[in-house]
């Protein structure tokens, strides 16, 4: 960290640098071998290992045995190290020739983080600890006949991929973090670190998005409380870096295009990475209790030390290099892309702060007033909904402001029609019975955003069609190819708008509880639920009580659903297996009967042991949350593809000077 070591000093010792880079690859290889060993031991039911004995059992299906690798504290931290090592090795391999001057410190930063997790793996939560019992000659290693089983709540397909995705997101941010730190320390010129890490940041962000949404999907399908997002500390912990990461992805554009906000961007990427670690610390150290805290032990102090160290290093380097980061911040106009990005960052960070504050408030309250209180979903919904709506508004408005300045005329041209479109849909929704201010606002803004995006695609495609022989679809594809970042970004924004349409549904959820016998009928609004039978089923892994229920709407048969209540043999734990039926409406019916999930929970038997207790939820529009998420991921994929300049070989209608054509496409 001594500033006297300039890049050229490193160049004098190329062998040292080379050995450091090879060490990264060696470390990666070793960690992968360790993880592979644990996976093999899990698949082989080697219950001599304490971790396997308490997280797996013989009857567990193979894919869950593999997923048990990241279902507990010890295994998931090893998995974390494994992904971290793979990322580090890839980042080093890809960049070591092209950006040699950045490598030394980037390697140091990456390896310091990996070192921390390896210390945890080796000394705090070793997954390879053996079980021993007192034998005649001292303690003897032994294997119990069967393991305690995987927590049944984790036995869900989403759980097989959700943690790896989330970890990939968390770990992924360590690469931009390392390069940012290195660029700062070595005073590397220009915006090179941003160009190097842009794809890394986007990929990490994409994985984090997938991870968060799959977590929601898992909660929705497994926990059985009728929703997908409960503002639980673990959920919040994953949202915090997502919010700052999103802010970073937007504000780096200011630096790339205008050389502005250099300090801010450094701060944001540091904050994002620190929040990844901080979230892990919060949820795994037992500081906060949570439904999702499947992995906990006394690793709090380790994390506390590591976090303070990171904070110190980041703060110190940032302060020492403030002169280097001096940027020519200038603003031509208040109505410009630049200022819209400023507000976007402001809102995202305000949202992040609100989540953090609400998550930590029980601790603060206990420290200040000595009273344990809860901060749950009602709090977060009240605080986040207005912030979220403002963010949605900016999602539509921001991209339409031009860099530097925007004229009133172009604002008028870009906004009038989308605004009318949004308003018409919102008014229609009002007349079809949506009488909730926030919901109507969200509908209005979401369709406004969709309108602006559609208009952008339409305008661009029209210009291409004027010049080249193409149909509309071809023109849209060509448009996207010419500027993948811009149009990929629009697709992501479209996904966000769909996500918000999904959120609107939660304002109209219907929830009923009923105690039923076979043959009974329950009516909820215009739905009817007819209980066909209640019976028992058994597999190697669990015993299930199952209800077969026919669902009718307006006397039209829709589906037969079979919610279950399972009792897992190995762990002796009961769970509910929710039956979810996404009810798709026909396009014309969508306003009258917005598509809703029928969500049935077999909660168990009533006190008389005859009747089944049934929780019935009708959750409108939830489907759009998953569709929106998929669209966001698709958009990120588009943005990752390099842009292609216009092809000269196409037949053109009117020949125009190349310069003008570029202007339009840009």
């Amino acid at each position: 960290m001594t500033p006297r070591l300039k890049p050229r000093d490193w160049k004098r010792r190329p062998l040292l640098q080379q050995s450091a880079e090879r060490a990264v690859i060696a470390a990666c290889g070793l960690v992968v071998i360790a993880t592979f060993c644990l996976a093999v031991l899990l698949l082989r039911d080697d219950f001599r290992l304490a971790y396997i004995a308490s997280h797996s059992n013989r009857a567990l299906p193979v894919y869950f045995k593999f997923a048990a690798l990241w279902s507990g504290q010890e295994g998931s931290l090893l998995w974390w190290s494994c992904l971290m090592a793979l990322f580090a090795a890839t980042a080093v391999t890809v960049n070591r020739r092209t950006h040699a001057h950045l490598m030394p410190y980037a390697v140091v930063a990456l390896m310091a983080v990996l070192l921390f997790f390896l210390i945890l793996n080796n000394f705090a939560v070793n997954p390879f600890r053996l079980l021993a019992a007192d034998g005649p000659r001292g303690p003897e290693v032994f294997a119990p006949p069967d393991g305690g089983g995987l927590n049944p709540l984790l036995q869900h397909p989403a759980m097989v991929i959700h943690p790896p995705m989330l970890y990939l997101g968390f770990v992924g941010f360590s690469v931009p973090f390392a390069f940012a730190l290195s660029a700062l320390i070595t005073r590397s010129k220009g915006e090179q670190w941003i160009r190097i890490t842009r794809h890394w940041t986007m990929i990490a962000w994409c994985f984090l998005t997938i991870g968060i949404l799959l977590g929601g999907r898992w909660a929705y399908a497994v926990l059985g409380w009728g929703g997908y997002w409960g503002w639980d500390p673990v959920e919040n912990a994953s949202l915090l870096p997502w919010l700052t990461g999103t802010a970073f992805l937007h504000s780096v554009m200011m630096q790339e295009k205008r050389g502005m906000m250099k300090v801010w961007n450094m701060g944001l990427i540091f904050a994002t990475f620190l929040l990844c670690i901080f979230g892990t610390f919060l949820t795994r150290s037992g500081v906060l209790s949570s439904v999702h805290a499947f992995a906990q032990s006394a690793i709090g102090p380790y994390f506390a030390v590591f976090l303070s160290l990171l904070l110190f290093v980041c703060g110190f380097v940032l302060l020492r290099r403030l002169d280097f980061l001096k940027s020519e911040n200038q603003l031509d106009s208040l109505a410009s892309r630049e200022s819209s990005f400023l507000f976007n960052n402001l809102i995202l960070l305000a949202s992040c702060f609100a989540v953090l504050w609400g998550t930590l408030f029980p601790l603060i309250s206990e420290a200040v007033q000595g009273v344990k209180i809860s901060v749950g979903a009602p709090y977060f919904n009240k605080v986040q909904v207005p912030i979220g709506l403002f963010l949605l508004f900016l999602t539509g408005v921001g991209p339409l402001f031009a860099w530097r300045r925007t004229s009133m005329e172009s604002l008028h041209r870009n906004f009038t029609r989308p605004l009318i479109f949004g308003a018409v849909i919102a008014i229609a929704a009002f007349f079809f019975g949506a009488r909730n201010f926030y919901a109507l606002m969200a509908i209005f803004l979401a369709f406004f955003v969709i309108g602006t995006i559609a208009l952008e695609f339409f305008r661009g495609a029209r210009v291409i069609r004027q010049k080249e022989e193409r149909n509309w679809a071809g023109a849209v594809i060509e448009l996207t190819r010419r500027n993948t970042r811009r149009y990929g970004g629009y697709v992501i924004h479209f996904g966000v708008a769909l996500l918000f349409i999904g959120f609107v549904g939660s304002a109209f959820t219907i929830h009923e509880q009923a105690e039923v016998l076979p043959g009974d009928e329950v009516a909820v609004r215009n739905y009817r639920f007819v209980v066909q039978s209640l019976d028992q089923q058994e597999t190697d892994n669990h015993i299930a009580s199952q209800a077969r229920i026919d669902v009718f709407r307006n006397d039209k048969f829709l589906a037969t659903l079979t919610p279950e209540r399972r009792f897992y043999k190995a762990s002796g734990q009961p769970t509910t297996e929710v039956a979810i039926w996404p009810h798709l409406s026909k396009p014309l019916e969508i306003l009258q009967h917005p598509n809703a999930d029928i969500y049935l929970v077999f909660a168990g038997m009533a006190e008389d042991n005859q009747r089944a207790v049934l929780q019935i939820y009708i959750n409108p529009l939830v489907l759009w949350v998953w569709v929106g998420g998929a669209v966001m991921v698709f958009g990120t994929g588009i943005a990752l593809v390099p842009s292609r300049p216009p092809q000269p070989g196409r037949p053109t209608r009117k020949r125009k000077p190349a310069k003008e054509r570029d202007e339009v496409a840009a």
């Binding site: 032994f142 709540l153 949570s290 006394a298 200038q330 031509d332 209180i373 809860s374 762990s571």
Partner: protein, 226 residues
Amino acid sequence: MKSPRKEFSLLSPSGGHDFSRAEKSEKMFSALAAEVRLKENTSGAKALFSYGCFTAQLKLCPPVGFEAGARTFLAMAVLACVMLAMPLAAQQPTEPNKDAFQRVSDKLICQCGCNYGLSHCPHLECPSAPVLRAAIRQQLAAGKSEQEVLQAVVAEFGPAVLAAPPAEGFNLTAWVMPFVALALGLWLAIVVVRRWHARRRAAAPDPYLLERYRANLEREMKRLEE
């Protein structure tokens, strides 16, 4: 009724499992018990509930708020049988205070450790939700207002039963701080924007020329779009 809150706070959440299954060998049990002792906070906590004349001592397993071990399941079964034997009309006919009940329970969270809203806790064996729901129904039926019911519940179970902190006293900061931060950030952003804008004007080229260029550019752009 004894407030179960204190007992529940003993249920520290953790990733451990309840190994006390009857069919496992004694040898394994002792080894695993040692393992469990290592992660001491995973041990089950005993909670005492009095259901009228019936008292059941339940061993609760902490991990995910509510996961009963086999023994617990047995105890629950016994409990269910006793309840069945009791000449008690457990079934609630049509509820007169349904909306009020819903509004009150939306403001409360279940105390079994699941952290769900009271009306959402899907665990039938939940030791907390049915008690709370019954208490709320009873008090509403007795003609109390929603506010009084909430106060009574808080008095009995402590302030942690509220899903969101009441906006009074120190808890007001929970509500105010996000918006204070937003306002501060807004102020900061405006200051920054104005400063940058001022810097721009100071360094700006001849405004007449700039205006001419811009007019030209916009004319061109318009021509292009049409």
